[in-house]
Symmetry: C2
C-alpha cells in the first residue's frame, strides 16, 4: 500500500489539477470525494484507478476493496486535494467512460447549455430518479465531471449513461427513429399537460437565462411550456426538468 505524507508529492499535485476540466480531459480521469460517492463508484469498481484514504479514516467494513490500488495519505494531503471544507476522509480517482453507447434509449434527456453545476447535478439526479435511459450534453453545458456537479448528482452520475454530443445531429437521429423530440420554451408552444405520457420521448432542457437554442426549437415536434400561475417569471431549470420528466414518463 502506498503512503503519501507531503502535499508537495507529485501525485498530490496532479490530483489537485483534476479540479480543472483541461486536466480531466488530458488524463481521462476525474476525482470524487466522500463516503457516499465512493460507495456508489465501488458498484462499478473497474472505473476506480486509485482509492485515496486519509490515515484518520476507517473504510466501512462492508466495502469490498480487493484488488483496488489503495493510497494512504495524511489528513493534510486529503484536505489539499479536496474542494470541500470538511473532507470525509476518502476520495477516488476514476476513469472517464468513453465508450458509452446511446443505442436502445427510449427516454432521453438533451441538456443544452446548462451552466450552473448545482443545476446540472440536480437534473442528472432527477433524470436518474425518473428512469431516463441516458443524457446527451450539448456544447456550452458545464462539464459533468466538475466536482460540484458530481456532488449535486448524489452519485446519479454513476447510474445512467451521460455523453457529450452535437444536439442538432442527435435530434435528427431520434426524429428519424420516430421518437418525439420536445423542446421547452417560456413563450409559444403548448402546455406540457396537452402532451400524453409515452414510452418513448426525448426532452430538451436549456440554458438558465436564454433557454433552448432556437435552431433546436425549430426542429422539434412540439415545444412545451409549464404554465406560471403566480408572480414568478419562470421556474428554476432543474424544477422544470423534474415536472416535465415525471409528466412525460407517466
Amino acid at each position: 500500500m502506498d503512503r503519501i505524507e507531503s502535499v508537495k508529492n507529485q501525485k498530490v499535485k496532479q490530483w489537485r489539477k483534476l479540479h480543472t476540466k483541461k486536466e480531466r480531459e488530458a488524463t481521462g480521469t476525474f476525482m470524487i470525494e466522500g463516503l457516499h460517492l465512493v460507495e456508489e463508484a465501488l458498484k462499478t469498481k473497474e472505473i476506480i484507478k486509485d482509492l485515496i484514504v486519509s490515515e484518520d479514516t476507517t473504510i466501512p467494513t462492508h466495502w469490498n476493496v480487493d484488488q483496488l490500488n489503495i493510497i494512504l495519505v495524511t489528513k493534510e494531503v486529503l484536505k489539499a486535494i479536496s474542494d470541500t471544507e470538511t473532507p470525509q476522509g476518502v476520495a477516488a480517482i476514476c476513469e472517464i467512460q468513453t465508450e458509452l453507447s446511446a443505442d436502445n434509449w427510449n427516454k432521453i434527456l438533451f441538456i443544452d447549455s446548462v451552466q450552473d453545476p448545482g443545476n446540472l447535478g440536480t437534473i442528472i439526479r432527477t433524470a436518474d430518479a425518473a428512469g431516463i435511459d441516458g443524457i446527451i450534453l450539448g456544447e456550452g453545458t458545464v462539464d459533468h465531471y466538475n466536482s460540484k456537479v458530481i456532488r449535486s448528482s448524489q452519485g446519479s452520475i454513476f447510474h445512467l449513461p451521460i455523453i457529450k454530443g452535437n444536439l442538432v445531429e442527435w435530434l435528427d437521429i431520434y426524429s428519424r427513429n420516430e421518437i418525439p423530440v420536445y423542446g421547452t420554451s417560456l413563450q409559444n408552444g403548448v402546455s406540457y399537460r396537452d402532451v400524453s405520457p409515452s414510452e418513448q420521448f426525448c426532452l430538451i432542457i436549456g440554458n438558465e437565462g436564454s433557454g433552448v437554442n432556437r435552431e433546436l426549437l425549430q426542429k422539434t415536434v412540439k415545444n412545451l411550456y409549464i404554465p406560471i400561475y403566480g408572480g414568478a417569471e419562470s421556474l428554476n431549470v432543474a424544477i422544470a426538468a423534474g415536472i416535465l420528466l415525471y409528466h412525460l414518463r407517466g
Copy 2:
C-alpha cells in the same frame, strides 16, 4: 439625500449585522441586494425603509423612487454590506411583514425543517409559480429572510404570504376546515399519481435528510411518495415540491 463614505459608519455596521437572523428579528428588517430584487420590492414600495445606491450606479429610469429614503454610498460601502462577490450597486432595507393573514388560503404549502437556503428559496419560487396561496414555515426551517433564500427565490418572497407557525396546530385548523392535508414520505403512503388534483389542498414538504416529522405524518389524510424508477435514492426536496405542487393543482 444622505451620503455615506466610510465603512465604519454606524449605519453601515448595522446593515452588515442584518446578515444574522438575530439582528433581523431585533430590528424587524432585512436586506435585499441587486437590481432584480429591489425592482420586485418596489412593487410594494411601503416595505422599503432605505434604498441604498452605490455612487457608480445609475438607477433604471423606469423606477419610481419618489418619497423613498435614498442613501448614496461609495462602492466600498456597498461591497462591505453585500454578501455577493460582485454587488450590483443597489440594495434596500425592507420591513418584515408581520401582519400577514392566512385567511382564505385554498392551496397551502407547509415547510417542515428545510435547512438549505438554496432549497428553501427555490421552493418559494416554485410555490409562487404554481399559484400557491401561502406558505407556512415550521420550526427548524431556515429563516426566509436569509439573503441566500431571498436570492434563490428570485423575488418570489415578495409575491406570496409566508408566515412562521406551529405546523401541528395549522394542520388541525385546515383539517377542521376540510382541506385535505398531504404529507410526503419516501416509504409507505400512496403514489402522488393516485391523488386527484383539486381546488383545495395543503402539502407538507420536509427536511432534506429526515423528511417530514412523524407527528405530522400521523395526522394527514394521506402521505404521498414520488416513485423512483432509476438508481437514485431520492429526489432533491425542491424538485419533489415542484412535481407535487404542479400535480396537485392540476
